[in-house]
Amino acid sequence: MTQRVEVRISGLGGQGVVLAGQILGKAAVYSGRNAVQTQSYGSEARGSAAKSEVIISDSKIGFPAVRKCDVLVTLSQTALDKHFKDLKKGGVLLVDVSTVESIPETKVKVFKIPATETAKKTFGAGIYANMIMLGALARIINLVNDKAMEKAIRESVPEKTVEANVNAFNTGLEFLT
């Protein structure tokens, strides 16, 4: 059977949600699958709504945008409020509970990760929260191998921050292991 997963990673500009989506898509292709990543962000450098969408499939991908997602990752309250309606009934919600206060009552599976808090404590900057969430996400969708993820991270972040990003990703993996 064809495997296909549609993911939306959402938050605010500056949190690295677009980068997280790019890394996931790249790793999916390195794992031999088809992937498309699209994004939406505001004109402002920081603070406006941002989202990144990734479709991973074994077959050709036509329409590149995500309409209903299998996994919704949110790093801000406004993002959760805005995108929750697009999560499929049997989907998975992945929430950074350091930046999101209220999660709607739901029957979908919810994973709560204190990503921004952990990032600040362990890596000295909240900016690594995206990699922690990406680690948890990689474990949930299980279509992309960890080696490919690490390769994609190494290729996509500034040289000085590679180790911290990879470690943050591994921290995220461990949250759900």
């Binding site: 292709v29 794992s31 992937a35």
Partner: protein, 382 residues
């Protein structure tokens, strides 16, 4: 799980465009930053010096296309890239490139206009501007990619057409395709078909006529070529009042494109012969058709489509044939209707032409919206 080939990448459309340009032999890039085209400039700035080329950030878009034209006359294959607002500023020089027969490639990654509009959001509002943007009688060649892979292959083709027909060529992309990332298998450099401009032989003097596409010298090669935006004869001599010189020049410039529509035209089609309802699509909007067509067929609807990879010159014979076969042609566009009027003109009553338009927020026409339109139109037929 299959292993990924070493030449398979997960690239952004803009990166694929830049790499396609380099593969086609582009060694000069000039641009001014603008969303959603800036990554082309950024990538060219990194890559061109590695292959012996030059990338410059200019003071604005007018200067960007101006120096690209200059670089072309210095013998280089040259490109600039922008979005709608910058494309508007480039129009005068595009006319200059046309009348001076300067091969160059201009990328317009469309966003939602007019004016600054929604700077980070997708649109398809520049379709008519890409055809009629500059003043005077001219014919444009405009290509429309719908994938990251086509951002590479159609950029190569844009350069080849520019060199073959000695004319500016526009790659009309859009925010979705420019910013999207997907896998691309990059052909090895020796398998990319590259066309170069025809150079004159010693003693040649006519670089602006006598032949449909005359040979093109570079400055400094000893041909004493004069390049002017004023009407000129075969030898580049200005004739600013003679009606015959103007008629001869401008007709040749248009005919060298109009007489080769079939060679320039490139498209993807499906079930033209057997369809009742047809879709006529291009660019990002076309990504919705595959799912919509599959679902429409599952409901027993006879459907077909043409996806244009060459928008201009408009493939009249091809669309006329579609109008002869289909009862209705639906034209989805992320504007308030541009190509649909061209389809209507060519169909000339043979088929009903139905626009499907959506603008704002960069939201694509979804397969569901397209399918709903197809079903409504099919129902009316019964």
């Amino acid at each position: 799980m299959t292993t990924t080939k070493s030449n398979t990448y997960f690239w952004q459309g803009n990166q694929a465009c830049a790499e396609g340009a380099i593969a086609a032999g582009c060694r000069f890039f000039a641009g001014y930053p603008i969303t959603p085209a800036s990554e082309i400039a950024a990538h060219m700035a990194k890559r061109l010096p590695q292959v012996g080329g030059i990338a410059i950030q200019m003071e604005d878009e007018l200067a960007s296309v101006g120096v690209a034209i200059g670089a072309s006359w210095a013998g280089a294959k040259a490109m600039t890239a922008t979005s709608g607002p910058g494309f508007s500023l480039m129009q005068e020089f595009i006319g200059y490139a046309f009348i001076t027969e300067t091969p160059c490639v201009i990328v317009d990654a469309q966003r939602a206009g007019p004016s600054t509009g929604q700077a980070t959001k997708c649109g398809q509002g520049d379709v008519m501007q890409s055809r009629w943007g500059t003043h005077g009688d001219y014919s444009a060649i405009v290509l429309s990619p719908n994938s990251v892979e086509e951002m590479f292959t159609l950029t190569v083709r844009a350069f080849n057409l520019a060199e073959e027909y000695r004319t500016p060529v526009i790659l009309l992309a859009d925010e979705t395709i420019a910013h999207m990332r997907e896998q691309i298998t990059v052909p090895s450099s020796d398998s990319v078909n590259v066309i170069n401009r025809r150079k004159p032989r010693a003693g040649d003097k006519a670089f602006f006529g006598l032949e449909e596409v005359p040979p093109m010298p570079a400055v400094g090669e000893g041909f004493n070529v004069a390049v002017t935006g004023s009407t000129h004869d075969e030898y580049g001599i200005r004739f600013t009042a003679d009606p015959l010189v103007h008629k001869k020049l401008v007709e040749r410039l248009n005919n060298k494109i109009r007489n080769h529509v079939e060679e320039i035209s490139d498209f993807e089609d499906y079930n033209i012969e057997g369809c009742q309802i047809a879709l006529l699509v291009y660019g990002c909007t076309s990504r919705a058709i595959y799912e919509a067509v599959e679902k429409a067929e599952a409901k027993g609807i006879k459907i077909g489509y043409i996806r244009l990879k060459t928008i201009w010159p408009f493939p009249e014979k091809l669309v006329r044939k579609l109008a002869e076969k289909a009862e209705k042609i639906i034209v989805p566009e992320m504007n308030l209707g541009q190509i649909c009027y061209e389809v209507e003109r060519v169909a000339n009553g043979l088929a009903e032409v139905i626009p499907l338009n959506k603008i704002g927020g960069g939201e694509l026409i979804t397969p569901e919206e397209l399918l709903a339109k197809i079903l409504r139109e099919a129902e009316k037929n019964e």
